[in-house]
Symmetry: D2
Subunit: 385 residues, 4 copies
C-alpha cells in the first residue's frame, strides 16, 4: 500500500477549497494547502479505517470478507464533507458520522474496537506526514538556491551589519550559506519528526487495547509505532508544531534580511519573479519585495499557533474535553502557513537578483573576508550530506 505519495496535487498559488480564496494566494501558497484540505483529512481518516480493517482481518478479529467490504467502502468520493461536518458538530468529532456510514455500507465490523480519537489522531499524523513531503521539498529547494548563491558569491564582499549598523566585511556567499544552514537544520529536525514522531494511535476507547493492532496499522500506514497510546500525552503534536515553527522562524530571518537588503538606500538585492509582481496601486514607480513580505506574513502567524499546541497538552484523564479538539484546526493552519512560507521562500531565493557591485561599494576597499571560504565549504559539504 503506497501511502507515501502526497494525496492531492494543486497548481502553485492556487488556494485550497478549505481556505480563503481571497487570501489563499498569500497564506496558502504551494502544495501543502491541498494536503491539509478537508478532502485530505477525509482521505486520511478512511485510510486509517481501511488499515484497521486489514489489521483486524490479519489478527483474526473480523472476517476477511468484512475487511474487504470495509476497504472497498473507504473511498473519499463517496462521502459528503458538509454532511460529515454537520454530524460531527453533534459529537465534537467528525468520525462519528463517518463510522455510521461505513457501517451502513460495509457492516458492523467497520471501526472494530477503535475510538474516534484513534481515527482522528492517526489521520492527523497521516495528514502531517503527507503535508511534510511538499513542505520539505520546497524547503530543500530554498536551501539549494542558497547553496547556489553561496557558491556564486563565495568572494563577493558585503558589509556585515550588526544591530543594523555596519560592522566588518564578509562575503555574501557566507551570508547565503548561513541562510542555507538554517534551513537545513530546521528541515532536518522536521524530517526527523516526520520519520520518528508521527505515530499511529490505536489504543481503543481508553488506551489499553492489545498493541498488536497498533503495530499492524502503523506498518500499513507507514507511521511510527508508539510504546503506549499517546491519546493524552501530546508530545508528538508538540514536536511537530515546534519543528514547523523553527523552520518558519528561519525563513522569516531570510525574508527579513532580503527586505533590508532591498531597501532603496541599500539595493544590494532585488526580488526577481513573475512580471508584474510587486506593483503598487498608488505609486507606479515602486517595486515591492512581495515574496519576502509574504514569507514574513505567513511565518509571523506560526509561533503563536505552536504556542497553542504547546499550551493545550494538559489533556484530562483518558480524553480531553476541549484541549484535544483544539488541535485539528491549529495543526492544519501550522502546516498550511509554514508550507506557504516555504513555497514563497523558494520562489524568493530561486529568483533573487544580487547586485554585487552595490555590495562591494558598501563593503569598502580591500575587504578581509575572514574564513568565509572555509566556512562556505564546510556548510556546503554538510548540505550535500
Amino acid at each position: 500500500m503506497a501511502t507515501d505519495s502526497t494525496s492531492a496535487s494543486r497548481e502553485p498559488g492556487r488556494p485550497s477549497s478549505s481556505t480563503s480564496e481571497l487570501f489563499g494566494g498569500l497564506y496558502a501558497r504551494g502544495a501543502v494547502a491541498g494536503e491539509v484540505a478537508d478532502v485530505a483529512w477525509l482521505r486520511a481518516m478512511l485510510d486509517v479505517e481501511a488499515a484497521l480493517a486489514r489489521a483486524c482481518v490479519a489478527e483474526g478479529l473480523i472476517p476477511a470478507a468484512a475487511g474487504e467490504a470495509i476497504v472497498a467502502a473507504c473511498r473519499p468520493e463517496d462521502f459528503d464533507l458538509a454532511a460529515l461536518g454537520a454530524e460531527g458538530a453533534r459529537s465534537a468529532s467528525p468520525v462519528v458520522g463517518l463510522v455510521r456510514i461505513l457501517r451502513e455500507r460495509a457492516g458492523e465490523h467497520a471501526h472494530h474496537g477503535a475510538t474516534s480519537q484513534d481515527v482522528m489522531d492517526s489521520a492527523m499524523m497521516l495528514v502531517a506526514r503527507r503535508a511534510l513531503a511538499p513542505l520539505l521539498a520546497d524547503a530543500a529547494a530554498a536551501a539549494d538556491a542558497c547553496a547556489r548563491l553561496a557558491e556564486q558569491h563565495r568572494a563577493t564582499p558585503i558589509i556585515a551589519r550588526t544591530l543594523l549598523a555596519h560592522a566588518l566585511p564578509t562575503s555574501f556567499g557566507l551570508k547565503a550559506a548561513v541562510w542555507m544552514s538554517g534551513v537545513d537544520e530546521a528541515s532536518a529536525w522536521l524530517r526527523d519528526v516526520g520519520e520518528r514522531t508521527l505515530a499511529v494511535q490505536m489504543g481503543g476507547p481508553v488506551g489499553h487495547r492489545d498493541p498488536a493492532i497498533a503495530a499492524r496499522v502503523a506498518r500499513e500506514l507507514g507511521l511510527a509505532e508508539p510504546v503506549l497510546a499517546w491519546h493524552v500525552v501530546r508530545v508528538r503534536p508538540a514536536a511537530l508544531a515546534a519543528a514547523l515553527a523553527a523552520l518558519a522562524g528561519v525563513l522569516a530571518k531570510i525574508a527579513r534580511d532580503v527586505t533590508l537588503l532591498a531597501q532603496d538606500e541599500v539595493q544590494e538585492v532585488r526580488e526577481g519573479g513573475a512580471a508584474g509582481r510587486g506593483a503598487s496601486t498608488a505609486m507606479t514607480h515602486k517595486r515591492n519585495p512581495v515574496a519576502a513580505i509574504s514569507v514574513l506574513a505567513c511565518a509571523q502567524r506560526v509561533p503563536a499557533l505552536a504556542g497553542t499546541i504547546l499550551g493545550a497538552m494538559a489533556h484530562e484523564h483518558e480524553r480531553a474535553a476541549g484541549a484535544w479538539q483544539v488541535e485539528w484546526g491549529t495543526v492544519a493552519e501550522l502546516l498550511r502557513l509554514t508550507g506557504s512560507a516555504a513555497a514563497w521562500a523558494r520562489d524568493l531565493l530561486e529568483q533573487l537578483d544580487v547586485d554585487a557591485d552595490r555590495m562591494a561599494l558598501h563593503a569598502g576597499e580591500s575587504p578581509d573576508l575572514g574564513a568565509s571560504g572555509v566556512l562556505i565549504d564546510r556548510a556546503l559539504a554538510a548540505h550535500r550530506r
Copy 2:
C-alpha cells in the same frame, strides 16, 4: 446607506465556504463565520470604494457621474474571488486587482487618492463591525440565559469549590450570576471597541491626506474617525483582538465549570440540546458535554491569535513589510472562533439541565448562602442596564 445590518445570513452550524466544511461545525458555528467569509471581505472592500467615491464627489474631487459609475460597479457578485486572490498574491494585497477592474469598468476616478492599505484597513474594520453584531447577540443571549438561571436558582444551594475541593455552600443562582457578569463585562468591552475603536483608514499612500475625506468616508460607513491615520499604529486591531480574547476567556470559564459539574461523580448539570448530540462511537451509554467541549476548543485557540496581533504591532515606517499582512487571516480567525464559542455557549446555557437535588446533596444540610440574594439582585440590575 444602510451598512449596519449584517452582510450575509447563514443557517446556524453551517460552515462558511471560506473555511473547512469538515471542522466548520465545531470552529465556525453561528452567524459570525459568514461575516468573515471571502464574500464579506469583498463586499466590505467594495463598500469602502463606494463610500470613497461618494466622499470624493462631495468634496469636488471627482465628477458626480464618475462617482455614480463607481458606486454602480461596486457589486460583489460581479467579481471573481479566486481571480482577485491570485492577482493579490502578486502584490501581497487583494486590492490591486480589485482597483484594476473597478477602473476598467468605471473609469480612472475609482480609488481616488487612496492606497491599498486604506481599503484593506477600512474593510477589516467594517468586517469586524458587522461580525460583532451576531457575536454580541449570541453573547447577550448567553448572558440572558445565565440571568434566567440566576433568578430560578436564587435559593438553590450548591457547594462552592475552591482549588477543586469543597469549600462552603453558596447558591447556584450566584454562580450563574457570576457567569453572567463575566459575559456582560467582556461584551461591554467588545461593544465599546465596536463603537469607538473600529475606525476608518483613509490617509492616502503615506498617511498625510486631507482629513476631510476620512471624515466623510467614516460617516458613510458608520465607522469612527481617527485623529490621524493609524496605518502604522495598530492599537485598534490590538483592542479588537484583546476584547475578543477576553470574551472567549469568560466563555471558556463557563464551559470548564459545566464540564466539571457534568462529571459522573458530580452530575449537578447536564447538557440539553438536540436529540443525538453527545453520542459516543465506542461507548453508547455515554452522553458527552459537546457544547461545552466545543466552547473550550474554540476559546483555547483565541489567546495565541490575540498574541499574534499584539506581537505584530512594530510596523516599519509608513507600511509594514509583513506585520500588516499578518492581520487579515488572524483577525478573521479571531472573530470566527470567538463567534463560534459564543454560539456554542448560547446553546449550552439556553438548554442547560440543572439537577437542584444533586446540588443540595453536595451542599450539606442547612447551608448558609451568604449574601447570595443581594448579590444576584445587584448583578441582574447591572445586566438589565
Copy 3:
C-alpha cells in the same frame, strides 16, 4: 489614607532586588520595577489587610481596638519576605504565613471574613495601580518628546517608506506625530484600565460576602468597586495585560523606526544619550542604538505574557487550581517589561538627534508634504487635551 503615591523610589536604571541585577538594566529600567518588587507586593498585601480591618471596624464586625492593633501591625519592615515565601510554598499562596503572623501579633480579628484570594487579588490590583503611575509618566514624557519633534520638524521633509521602499515625501513632524498619537492612544487605554478596571476583591471564601465590606475597602484603597466578586471572572487582569501589550507594541514601532532610520545607509536619526552608550567590544568605530534595541527587547517579551493571562481565564469553579497562581509572576513581568520599554523609549525620544539635511536629501526636491501641517495640529491638539 494616601495610597496614590508610588510605594518605592529607585534610581533610574537600578534593578529591583526582586529581579536580575545582571539583566535588570535592560529589562527593568525606570521606576516600575521597584513597584513590582517583593517589598511592594508585601506592602500592598498589608495595605489590604489594614483597609479590611478599618472596614470591619466601621461595619461593626470587629472591635475598634482590634482594628487599630491590626493596622499598627501592617508594617512591611516587620515581615521576613523569604520566610513568607517559604511558608507560601506550602499553600500556593503567600498570604497564609502573613495572616498567621498578623494574628499572632494583632489577634484573631485580623483578616476577618477574608480569603487568601481577596488579599492577593486586591494586592495585585494595588501593585498594578502604583506601577502604572511611573509607567504612564514615562509614556507621557515619551509622547511629549514626540510632540516637540512634531513641532520642530513640522516642515522637515522626509521620504515616507512603505514596505521598506521609498514612497512619497512627508514631514518628519508628521511621523513624530504619528508616534505620539500611538503612545497617547495606548496610554489613554491604560489610564482608563487603571481608573475603572483595577478593582478590589473582597468576596470572602466563595464570593458571596456582603458587598458593604468590598465597598469600604475599595474606597480606602482607591480601587474600583466591582458589581460582584471577580475571583473567577478574570476580565480585569486581561484588560490590564492587553493595555500594557498595546503600549509595548506602540513603543516597539517607534524603536523599530529608529533602528531603521539610524542604519548607516540612512543616517536620518541617531541616538543621543549618555557618553559611552552604544559602544561595541569588538568594533570601536560603531555606535549602537542601544535605547531602541532595549525597547525592542523588552517589548517583544510582552505579547506572549499577555497571551498567558488571556489564556488563563478558565478558572475552575470558585477558585482556580493553577490558572490563578499563574497571574502573580506574569503580571509583575508584564508591568516590569512594559515599564522598562517606556523608560527606554522616553530616554530615546528625549535625546534623539535628527539630521534634517539627510532627510531632505532622501526626500527629493520640492517635496509635497500633503496635509502634514493640518494633521500635526490636530494631533497636537488631541495630545494636549
Copy 4:
C-alpha cells in the same frame, strides 16, 4: 576541566537571589533556579572567556602567560554583578563591562577575536546545559515514581474517563505508565537537545572566524560544535524552548489528572507531603493539592515563553537589534519555571496517596482491564532502557 557538574547548589524550595523571594517557593522550586541565577550566568560567561583564552594559546594566537593570566582572572567572586549590569545597560550587553575589567586585570589578550555575542550565546548554552542536569534529574525521579505506581497498581482497577465522563475500566497502573511514558518521551527530547543542540558560539564579530577556535572552545566547555556560527540562525534556542515546553506540558497533564482525581466527589488520590502543606486560611477543614496546583501554575507560564523564543527568530543581518536580547531573560524563565514544575511534580508523585478502594468502587464490578498488564510491561521496559 570538569564543567558537567552543576554550578551551584541550593536547598530545595529556596528561591534564587535573582528572582522573587515571595513567589520563588512557587515558581522557582528545586535546583534549576540556582543554575539560572545571575551568578551562574556570570560564571558561565567567565568559563567561556577562560576556554577562549586556552584555545587561543593552543592555536598560538596569544602567549601562554597571557592565557594563564586570563584564566586566573575568570573568578566570579571578583566581579560585581550590579556594576556589570549597570554597565551592560549602556550597550545592551553585559559582556562589555566584563571584558573591560578582564583586560584591565589580565591584559589586552582577553576576549581575543571574540564578540559580545560569542560570549553571551556560549554562556547561555552553558547555563542551559548546567540547568538541565537537575531538571532532568527531577523529571527522572518523577518518572521513577510513576514506574513504582505502575508496578504497584498493575491490577488496581480505575474507571477511565473520556471527555470527563466515565468510559470503561482500566488499571491505575496503566494510567501511571502513561504519565511515565510522557515524562520519558519529553525528557529524552530534552536530553537530546542538551547533548546535540546546545552548541558553542565563536564566530567572531560577524561570524566568519576560523572554525578551529570554535572547535577547541566547544571541547573545553563540553558543548557541541556547530558547522557554522549560529549567531543569526536561532534553531538552537528554539529547540531548547520547545523541548522545555513539551516537558512542562506533560507535567501539567499529570497535575491536572491529580487535581481531578483528588476532587471531593472522586477522592481516588490525595497529595501526601510535608505536614501542614495544603492548609487553607479561611476553611481549616480543607486540604489543597498544593503540589499539583504549583505544577500547573509553573507549567502554564511556559508555552507563551516558548512562543516568544520561536517568534524572535527573525534576526536582522549579522546581529539582531532586539530579537537577540529577548532571549536571555526568556530562556532563564523557561528553565526556571520548567525546573520548578519538575521539582513540584517529583514531590507530588513520590508522595501520592492512592485510594485503591475508591478506584475500585468507581470502576464497577469485574472490570476488564484490557491489555493493561502487557502495556505496563512494555512501558516499564522502555523506561528502564
